[in-house]
Amino acid sequence: MTQTAEGKALSRERLLSAYRMMRTIREFEERVHAEFATGEIPGFVHLYAGEEASAAGVCINLDDRDTIASTHRGHGHCIARGVDVGEMMAEIYGRKTGSCHGKGGSMHIADLSKGMLGANGIVGGGPPLICGAALAAKIKGTGGVGVAFFGDGGSNQGTTLESMNLASVWNLPAIFVAENNGYAETTSSTWSVASDNIADRAAGFGMPGVIVDGFDFFAVHETASEAIARARAGGGPTLIEMKFTRYYGHFEGDQQTYRADEVAHARAELDCLKRFAGLVTQTGELTRADLDAVDADVAALIDQAVEEAQAAPLPTAADLLTDVYVRY
């Protein structure tokens, strides 16, 4: 299917929704990048800019029956799953009004009511959990699916490999999304992944493996929608490998001396938002004015999120000891 044909298969409303999702992620991450540089954001922050088409192209196919697990680079997945952007920003600032009341931070943003089982500070932490979410959906007969996002680094963890095997053995409605952005911290995936492609490993676990241009929303959407539909129908798991790059370092503050000048090229020639905008305006499905209106909305949303986060109260001493247990 051509991109154009696939583009036309999506309603105007869905196209706008996809664009808004990707633009919100981009604007959120560019703003966190800028604000981090002021020194006001504590801790470790890993930005998702450049990878938006993956989160959006997968998550736009999900509904409230479904659960995802994310990674340390989780902001994009949270936004694509509908986690409140203001609460996310407040969490990153360590505020009491944050998604986790300031107890989680960037690496642990979660909203189980939105089917978002958490960003995760442990590489490879999510796939076993998603087997469980998928098992629960299967046993309860909800038709729900579980989606585990992990990186090229996470693809080498035993937890991920065990989980793919278990998902096939139990025939779970699970999708494994390997976001191969080229680097696990500083280490190139061309070096650390012994197979030519992460997707090649799917054969070893008895499931389809698909490689997708991770900069291409429509390609991601098409692949993910097929895999998700198959999983919902009882057809079992799929491994999808996104190939793309991240626009920033492993974390904010990373000087990225291990990289060639690939980001400038990606931003100029491959960028998911540019490609999406170019295509939908060319086909006439959306106008530049439609997109500009979204851009303006999103910019205002992020401005507001930052202003509110900066003004929000910090947690207090009383919060230190709460919510360790439901009851102890």
Binding site: C100, K103, I122, P128, L129, G158, N165, L166, R327
Partner: protein
């Protein structure tokens, strides 16, 4: 009505009654049915020591065999717990925690706090611990102190069939992640257990023998060792109060402190290694909070700081026995400044 059944049967009955009561309860683990995909019986074992025997046919689709992939299936149990099920997963031997600990201590234990109180993870991880079966260094450890150290986990160690049933039912109904330790030398121990369902609260120690001279604080299999020692000592006129902690997290500090306030003497009996153990934890608790009552230094009876040996000649020396407990009691009763 109570009948005499074994620790193994008590656990099985608890699982069956809870699965009957609540269809969100599922059971999973290596060979928990036994025989998945094989040409023979699909419920061949019921777990390596038969605790889950018979549940597979009674509860179709809710007893799952797993590949030997502890990270994947322990993690799956945890993920399923966040998604509305109440899984009871079996980590066959606690010694295998090394291949799946991340899912337990970084994931399950932390979700509630790290996500700002929004997660509920009602998972039970059953696991077998302890020395005595000549199972050697990688199948005989206690390791419950490691889990007790982690905020967010509850740690339960029944010593009797009665407690095994009641604590298992509580563990399944509990909304926090529970590590449930079953001593492999206790499975055939029989004792009175009511047929009806009952839950024993966590954090309530059991005074299994009353006495005014020395407090013995213990847990798990060592409860029986301590009772044996207390029986012998009574013949010599020394009355021991024996406290079975039943859970190490939460910990019933009050029962321990009240007893020591009365006896002035403490012996802690713990099958785990001596460093950073329940023995040291209870000793520190009493030294801090009942210092004024102590009439003698605290004694600890533990395994040595060695791996668990294989040979009968060595393993029998490794495991604390009633004689060592009695000696420790005599040390604290005979102590003079």
């Amino acid at each position: 009505m109570a009948r005499n059944i074994t620790y193994r049967e008590a656990l099985n009955e608890a699982l069956a009654q809870e699965m009957e009561r609540d269809e969100s309860v599922i059971v999973m683990g290596e060979d928990n049915a036994g025989g998945a995909g094989s040409p023979g019986a699909q419920d061949a074992w019921g777990g390596v020591l038969g605790v889950t025997k018979g549940l597979y046919h009674k509860f179709p689709g809710r007893v799952l065999d797993t590949p030997i992939s502890e990270s994947a299936f322990i993690g799956a149990a945890i993920g399923a717990a966040t998604a509305g099920l109440r899984p009871v997963a079996e980590l066959m031997f606690v010694d295998f925690m090394g291949v799946c600990f991340d899912q337990i201590y970084n994931q399950a234990a932390k979700f509630r706090y790290m996500f700002g109180g929004k997660a509920v993870t009602p998972v039970v991880i059953r696991t077998m611990y302890g020395a005595g079966l000549r199972a050697a260094a990688q199948h005989s450890q206690c390791l419950y102190p490691l889990f007790t150290h982690i905020p967010g986990l509850k740690v339960v160690l029944p010593a009797t069939p009665y407690d095994a049933k009641g604590l298992m039912i509580q563990a399944i109904r509990d909304n926090d992640p529970v590590m449930f330790f079953e001593h492999k030398a206790l499975y055939d121990l029989a004792g009175p257990v009511p047929e009806e369902s009952y839950a024993l609260p966590f954090g309530e120690a059991n005074v299994v023998r009353e006495g005014g001279d020395v407090t013995i604080v213990t847990l798990g299999r060592m409860v029986h060792t301590s009772l044996e020692a207390a029986g012998r000592l009574a013949a010599d006129g020394v009355q021991c109060e024996v406290i079975d902690l039943r859970t190490t997290s939460p910990l019933d500090e009050d029962t321990v402190l009240e007893s020591v306030e009365g006896t002035g003497r403490l012996v802690v009996v713990d099958e785990a290694h001596p460093r950073c153990s329940i023995a040291t934890d209870i000793s520190a608790l009493v030294a801090r909070k009942a210092f004024g009552a102590l009439q003698a230094p605290i004694e600890m009876v533990t395994a040595p700081h060695t791996p668990v040996p294989f040979s009968k000649a060595l393993e029998d020396l490794y495991i604390p026995d009633a004689q060592r407990v009695a000696n420790a009691v005599k040390t604290v009763t005979g102590w003079t400044r």
